[in-house]
């Protein structure tokens, strides 16, 4: 087996293992599937370019989750800036979501969950998304974010409490 073949096999192994995790996390951060796919693609291309520096599959997993999470958050912030600029120019509220949204976000229940999550502070939201949708345990989340397990535990709890408060406010429809 040539070096190139082993390289490709390693890449495919990491892709098969990590893609289902990061696509779920990124989808909940960005709120639409097209953006999630775009972010995942970008993250894996970056990983391919740096594969020599991240030879271990376990480290690759954490690296990819961290990079994809950061890319998704950056994308969301950029969209927020664009929306505010649009509102300033045309003096009217722009649609909250860009074109090409999936049918999932069009559903009321989906919007309710997404809006509730979006109202959480970034530090709490990311941890809760990784726990609930990425199915990562506290130790894995701590490794990805570079914080302690105790901190993860506290953040998950606070995120749940804040989410419950948002729902109690009554402006979120829960199916």
């Amino acid at each position: 087996m040539s070096w190139r073949d082993s390289h490709t096999r390693h890449f495919q192994h990491v892709y098969d293992e990590v893609f289902p995790i990061i696509v779920r996390i990124v989808y909940r951060i960005t709120g639409d599937l097209d953006s999630a796919e775009e972010v995942c693609q970008d993250a894996f291309i970056r990983f391919y370019e740096r594969m020599d520096t991240i030879p271990d599959s376990e480290q690759a997993r954490y690296w990819l989750i961290r990079v994809a999470k950061n890319l998704a958050l950056n994308l969301q912030k950029r969209r927020g800036r664009e929306r505010r600029a649009y509102e300033r120019v045309f003096r009217e509220p722009a649609p909250r979501e860009v074109s090409g949204e999936t049918e999932v976000l069009k559903a009321e229940s989906s919007k309710a969950v997404q809006h509730a999550l979006n109202r959480l502070p970034e530090g709490l939201r990311t941890v809760l998304i990784m726990k609930e949708y990425g199915d990562l345990n506290y130790k894995e989340i701590a490794t990805v974010l570079g914080i302690t397990e105790g901190n993860v535990k506290v953040r998950v709890f606070r995120a749940r409490e804040r989410l419950a408060e948002v729902l109690k406010e009554g402006d979120v429809y829960v199916p």
Binding site: H7, Y15, F19, P20, V23, R24, Y27, L33, A36, E37, C40, Q41, F44, I45, Y48, E49, R50, M51, D52, T53, I54, P55, D56, T102, V104, A107, S109, S110, V113, Q114, A116, L117, L128, K131, E132, Y133, N137, Y138, K153, V154, V156, F157, R160, E161, L163, A164, L167, V174, P175
Partner: protein, 205 residues
């Protein structure tokens, strides 16, 4: 007693170890109020997962196809930045071996410079020898071969008695005004003493 909500949240995530998780399970069965708090947390989780997921399997296939169609180029990594995966036991053994070799090399170098009988204690460039444990010939050999020794301390035996033999060439004198010892030749003490005093007074001025 019902655990606090934070602990219940960790319990919901399966992050509470035994025997605490069994105790919490018992508490949830026996305490209705506690069970209600836990039910709220479960409801929050149910809400988060009530949203149907899109077809991620199709996404996985689509993204893979897009990546495969792209002309990807790996960035060349300099040799000194490449990482090498090494099992911990191997790394520990290599480090131990390296330290052993370095220690052995140092010891061997020290032995090669000065013989074992001649060294009373040695630290860095300083060498201490004891008269009585080695002969005068050996001491002279140490002094002559002592290029690597910066400072040599010769310790005389406590019980030995010493006398003056022959005509001493040097005497040790001290200028108490400057509190510094001055070595002057015995044969012409007057001229040197004058020079010393003149130098000392010039220094004071």
């Amino acid at each position: 007693m019902c655990p606090d909500r934070e602990l219940l949240s960790a319990y919901l995530d399966g992050e509470v170890p035994s025997p605490w998780k069994e105790r919490i399970a018992d508490e949830l069965q026996n305490d209705a109020e506690c069970a209600a708090v836990y039910a709220q947390l479960c409801e929050g989780r149910r809400m988060l997962h009530s949203d149907p997921e899109p077809d991620f399997a199709a996404s996985k296939q689509a993204v893979w196809q897009r990546i495969a169609d792209m002309p990807l180029v790996r960035r060349p990594v300099p040799l000194w930045r490449r990482r090498v995966a090494l099992p911990v036991p191997v790394a520990a053994a290599a480090a131990s071996l390296l330290m052993l070799l370095a220690g052995g090399l140092l010891w061997f170098t020290a032995r090669a410079t000065v013989g074992p009988n001649e060294i009373a204690s040695s630290a860095g460039n300083e060498l201490v020898v004891r008269i009585g444990e080695i002969s005068i010939e050996e001491l002279l050999r140490v002094i002559n071969a002592g290029e690597t020794v910066g400072e040599l301390t010769v310790t005389l035996p406590d019980s030995a008695t010493f006398g003056i033999f022959g005509e001493p060439q040097l005497v040790r004198a001290a200028d108490y005004r400057r509190r510094e010892p001055v070595i002057v030749p015995l044969e012409n003490p007057t001229s040197t003493d004058d020079e010393t005093h003149s130098g000392a007074s010039a220094g004071r001025e």
